[in-house]
Amino acid sequence: MNLEPMVKQIILVTDGESNTGGNPIEAAVRAKASNITVNTIGILSQRNQQESSFEEIVGIAQAGGGNYQLTYIDDLSRTIQSISYKTVSTTIQEAVGKQLQQILGKGLNEIPPEARSSILDYIDTYSDEVAVCCCLLLDCSGSMLSKIQAARHSIIDMLYSIKERSGSYKIALMGFSSEADGYCQLLHGFDDSAQQLERNLYKLQPKGTTPTAIAIDRAANLIEAYERKQGHQVELSEFIG
């Protein structure tokens, strides 16, 4: 059994709306109920795109207790890293906040800035050290075709950068598209090597539909299976207390 707590997150990368396989907002609610945060990244086209087509992205992130961000494909790597870091620190901040409420009867924001500073400092440091497992969900529908090359680079870049983190960071990658391909394709498992992922990324051929809900459910299952295998049985709030 592994007594170390782990932050669990899904990061959905898409350039449009779900068009098959159920309601993604409900899927995000299910993931959140299993303590998995769902974050979303909306890929903007170079042309001026209506932000309204990203309403679903905002909705999924809100339902999944996570953050969302709109970005251009060239900036994907940096966006994934910043959104991932933000979720980790928010998760820890919430856990610490709950504990403070229990011990002091006060939330974090009800402590004067000088005293709060050292608690925030601890959260910041701990955010870099806590174990994280993150499943990246990459939209591989037809519309992503022109962006897939840049997406590959970003994911590889992100993998190398994340290695420098002090705590363990396990990452899985799933591509999702047509029913013909079984909706989701696991391109990289939590325990696979980075070299294997590079090879798999080049096999990726975007085509077909966007079954976002199915993808979120599968990602949540993958994370839970990994967690069982690792024997992570401690929730963050118990650990910090």
Binding site: D74, D75, S82, L108, S117, D121, S127, D157, S161, S166
Partner: protein
């Protein structure tokens, strides 16, 4: 941020200081910056954000590095209750000027650029000797105060301890994006960003690692019309990491050389003018001779 309106006062929840927000100066990744006037009638820059952790980290570093003159002063950190939501703000020194980004399109002389880089490399050396790496060095984060003739680093959001991982970066100044190293927080990471900043100022164009690579960048420096010793400094810097003291010493030497180049250019210019004058007088002489002959 509903309650935050211009020409309205904000009052800190804990320190009870009052500031009148005059105008929005900019929006950054962590928050919005406003020009504000305190009850003492002095101007301040106020950074307002929802992100408690980033703001707190920045406050901590600004305090720890307060001895370095080229870093913006910080006065206090406080909260603001805004329609049930907690916002947090930093009160910073206001710098009346423009960021270095603004100077990219203006014609700065090579001499000015080299002396500016000397100040920036000294600033990096000071940060490094405190045990930190700056991380996100870029022209937007450096303000130029034209009245005081000084520069101020205004964003410490990317600061990390030596040996950690770079947290924030901008592709054009990030050696990993140029495939010239990784994002380990070490001195050479900052030097690389410094060199890229210098190249941008000298070549007066934006650079994009997704559209060009290290080899094409070196080639474009090599084929530019820059002074040979400036080219040598940049190309040498890009080829190997080097030591901080060397950079500062080399920049000092370079400054002297560039200054002399300027004198040389004047002499060269004067020679050109004299030659033109000479050529003109010969032409007139020939013309008058021909006229007289006719």
């Amino acid at each position: 941020m509903e309650k935050v309106k211009l020409q309205k006062n904000i009052i800190g929840k804990w320190h009870k200081k009052r500031y009148l927000l005059l105008k929005e100066l900019g929006r950054g990744g962590t928050g919005n910056i406003f020009l504000a006037r305190g009850d003492n009638l002095r101007h301040y820059a106020i950074k307002l954000s929802k992100d408690n952790i980033s703001l707190n980290r920045e406050f901590k570093y600004l305090r720890e590095l307060a001895d370095i003159a080229a870093i913006v002063r910080v006065y206090e950190m406080d909260d603001l209750e805004d329609a049930g939501e907690s916002l947090h703000f930093l009160v910073l020194e206001y710098i009346d000027g423009a960021s270095l980004r603004h100077y990219m399109d203006r014609r700065l002389t090579t001499e000015e650029i080299v002396s500016l880089m000397l100040v920036i490399f000294k600033l990096l050396a000071d940060i490094h000797s405190s045990g930190y790496i700056l991380g996100d060095l870029k022209p937007e984060n450096i303000m130029v105060d034209e009245v005081k003739k000084a520069i101020r680093l205004v964003d410490l959001g990317g600061v990390v301890k030596i040996g950690e991982t770079i947290r924030e970066y901008t592709p054009a100044y990030d050696r990993a994006c140029w495939k010239m190293g990784d994002r380990k927080a070490e001195k050479t990471y900052d030097y690389f960003s410094g060199l890229m900043l210098m190249i941008q100022l000298l070549l007066r164009r934006r650079m994009d690692p997704t559209k060009e690579n290290a080899a094409s960048l070196k080639a474009s420096v090599a084929s530019s019309s820059l002074y040979p010793s400036v080219k040598d400094f940049i190309l040498k810097g890009l080829n190997f990491g080097g030591e901080e003291n060397n950079y500062i010493k080399e920049l000092k030497d370079l400054y002297k050389i560039v200054k002399n180049y300027k004198k040389y250019e004047i002499i060269k210019g004067r020679d050109k003018a004299l030659n033109a004058l000479l050529a003109a007088s010969i032409m007139i002489f020939i013309a008058t001779t021909i006229m007289l002959m006719i």
